[in-house]
């Protein structure tokens, strides 16, 4: 088979559009963040972001470079099962909002671990913060590498040059912009992503002969008969019920633990505004996600109808390749700029989360007497440090990177989500349970991943284990079990039961739900906790039953 080299013949065109977008982002960052004087300004934009800007920024932060590069490649490899994986990703912001987002917004938290510190104490918050830094670094690292690879393969810029120059420019704009700049930029980036993805896709569909080219996300039914003829198994579900069930602990609960998503809700100007932002998020993410499925469909259709097979190493470039084949070069250059924008919005969200985790959740926890000015300086330094760390790690990237971002969802679901969910809804959850859940659950999840000990895995299917689907199905319920059981037991051991701490916890839980007085009957339902415990136990055992692929 002939190997094709997919690269712009005039890379300067791509470089021109990318420079143009970077200039725009720097200007927006500078203008947005001139008023940042407190940590509240730096991390939650003074909690004054309106619903449309916030909804767009939520969608943009969530929609990483993977929308342009990774997702379509995985649809090409897995077809419909991966589309079903991606559909449920839409749940992230709605579930965070209704389960704990508005409560933590009411509390005035900067990050989820800020709540964990007030709820469970310093030790639990530092453990959770360290896990979260790892999750954010993996996420940011994936974007950095993706951007450098895009520069290298599509524009011909050497990987190291692209990584260091591009990386430093990105870190610079996030650092000077703070949350306010990142939010305004993310909203602009969302518009760029949607336009640069959907409009060229319409042109691709028209060139392929589809009559529904004017609305690519849904109007491609006329291509279905040809697809069924060329590739009859495209619409097959392929995997068992267990595989589809495992998506809940892996990605749905996993997304609940992602700090950079939760932080978007804390920027809302009010609780009503946070709920309205969730509606805008669902609309825009549904639009672009649906277009992503169309792009994956078009990629498979292209392979089957033309006989040109995209090499495994090039599957990540599917979106760009289709544009190169069917659209003029300047359109492809705009799509590349759109892909870079998608990476930027996610990196900025992650670097801000890393900044908040290091400066607020670790250093300020250990040294609470720092002045406000010092905290802000430390915040800027931490954001910069996180960016530099992700550039350095990207110099020699780990081989498992394509799926590692999805694996990081599970890590967040194991180490962070149970602490927040139970902490918000069950007063009995205590620091012993939280520490055990985050520490033991996290270590078990790492051990059963194929990246550390390849022989110790639960599923036995490379992609399922690599994406953390099988590991999460075991480790997420384990984490909930540890939290509930250890909290319940230790609360009944008098020497471990500090009534002063419990009184403070009770007040906090009531306050974040909007109550001024403590009522022992509220958020104290042990029956609910035991039902959750039993359900988690069943799921954990089910995860150990041999998987059928």
């Amino acid at each position: 088979m002939e190997e094709q080299l997919w690269q712009l013949s005039n890379p300067l065109l791509g470089v021109f559009f990318i420079i143009l977008t970077f200039v725009l982002f720097y200007v927006v960052s500078y203008i947005s963040n001139r008023q940042s004087k407190t940590v509240q300004d730096l991390y939650v934009a003074g909690a004054g972001v309106g619903p449309i800007t916030n909804g767009l920024a939520m969608a943009s932060t969530y929609m990483s470079l993977a929308t342009f590069l990774g997702v379509t490649a995985l649809i090409l490899r897995l077809q419909v099962p991966f589309i079903l994986v991606w559909i449920q990703m839409v749940l992230a912001i709605p579930l965070i909002t209704i389960i704990y987002g508005v409560c933590l917004r009411r509390m005035g938290a900067f990050s989820p671990t800020h709540f964990i510190r007030d709820r469970y104490g310093k030790t639990a918050s530092i453990i959770a913060a360290l896990w979260m830094i790892l999750v954010c670094l993996m996420y940011a690292l994936g974007q950095m590498i993706g951007i450098a690879v895009t520069f290298e393969t599509l524009l011909g810029i050497p990987y190291m040059t692209g990584l260091i120059v591009g990386g430093l420019i990105i870190v610079g704009y996030v650092t000077i912009g703070g949350m306010s700049g990142a939010t305004n930029n993310a909203a602009i980036q969302m518009v760029i992503i949607a336009l640069m993805f959907i409009v060229p896709l319409g042109a691709i569909m028209k060139a392929m002969g589809s009559t529904g080219w004017f609305f690519p996300p849904l109007f491609y039914a006329d291509m279905v008969p040809a697809m069924l003829e060329a590739f009859p198994s495209f619409f097959d579900y392929q995997f068992s019920v267990k595989w589809y069930f495992a998506l809940i602990p892996a990605f749905t609960i996993g997304a609940l633990g992602l700090p950079h998503l939760a932080m978007r809700i804390y920027t809302a100007s009010s609780l009503k505004s946070a709920r309205s932002a969730m509606i805008w998020f669902a609309f825009i993410i549904g639009l672009v996600f649906s277009a992503t499925y169309t792009m994956g469909f078009a990629g498979v259709y292209f392979e089957q109808s033309t006989g040109i097979m995209i090499a495994d190493a090039d599957t990540d470039k599917l979106t760009i390749i289709l544009n190169m084949v069917y659209n003029p070069e300047w359109v492809t250059a705009l799509v590349i700029a759109g892909a870079i924008s998608a990476g930027l919005s996610t990196i900025s969200g992650n670097l801000l989360a890393i900044g908040a985790l290091i400066s607020q959740d670790i250093v300020t926890t250990l040294k609470p007497d720092l002045s406000s000015k010092m905290k802000v300086r430390l915040g800027y330094f931490s954001i910069f440090l996180g960016g530099i760390a992700s550039i350095i790690l990207a110099i020699n990237p780990p081989g498992f990177l394509v799926v590692s971002i999805l694996w990081a969802f599970g890590l967040a679901g194991v180490t962070n989500a149970p602490l927040i969910i139970m902490g918000v809804w069950w007063k009995e959850a205590n620091r012993f349970g939280a520490i055990a859940a985050s520490l033991i659950g996290g270590i078990v999840y790492v051990i059963i991943s194929p990246f550390v000990f390849p022989s110790i895995v639960i599923g036995g299917h490379a992609l399922t284990d690599g994406m953390g689907i099988s590991g999460s199905m075991f480790a997420v319920p384990l984490s909930f079990i540890l939290l509930i059981a250890i909290s319940y037991i230790t609360n009944r051991i008098p020497s471990l039961n500090d009534t002063g701490i419990r009184d403070e916890v009770n007040k906090l839980v009531e306050r974040i739900h909007g109550w001024s007085l403590v009522n022992p009957n509220r958020y104290n339902n042990n029956i609910g906790a035991f039902i959750a415990l039993a359900a988690c136990f069943i799921v954990m055992i089910w995860a150990l039953v041999p998987w059928d692929f």
Partner: protein, 90 residues
């Protein structure tokens, strides 16, 4: 029903509704169906449509109910506070 119970019930039911709507793939893997809708296989297009418009609808519903529950909590909280203050005064 008091505001606390409404809040707990709302969170559980809305979470279940969101899960069922976005995980239609799981339901179809349990109960497969054949046939076409809008020119696509049902088991393909229904999860996509529900994953967009179904979730959008639920976010609108949960926004409206969530705001109402906030108001109910605020009202009940004020009543609790005034009752508490009156008891304190006696």
């Amino acid at each position: 029903m008091n505001a606390h119970k409404k809040e707990v019930l709302f969170t559980i039911l809305m979470t279940l509704a969101f899960l069922l709507t976005a995980h239609t793939g799981l339901l179809f893997s349990l109960f497969p169906v054949e046939g076409y809708m809008f020119g696509f296989p049902i088991m393909y297009i229904v999860p996509i449509l529900l994953g967009w418009f179904g979730i959008l609808f639920l976010t609108i519903i949960s926004g409206v109910i969530g705001n109402r529950i906030d108001e109910a909590i605020e009202k009940e909280n004020q009543e609790e506070l005034s009752k508490h203050n009156n008891e304190g005064a006696v």
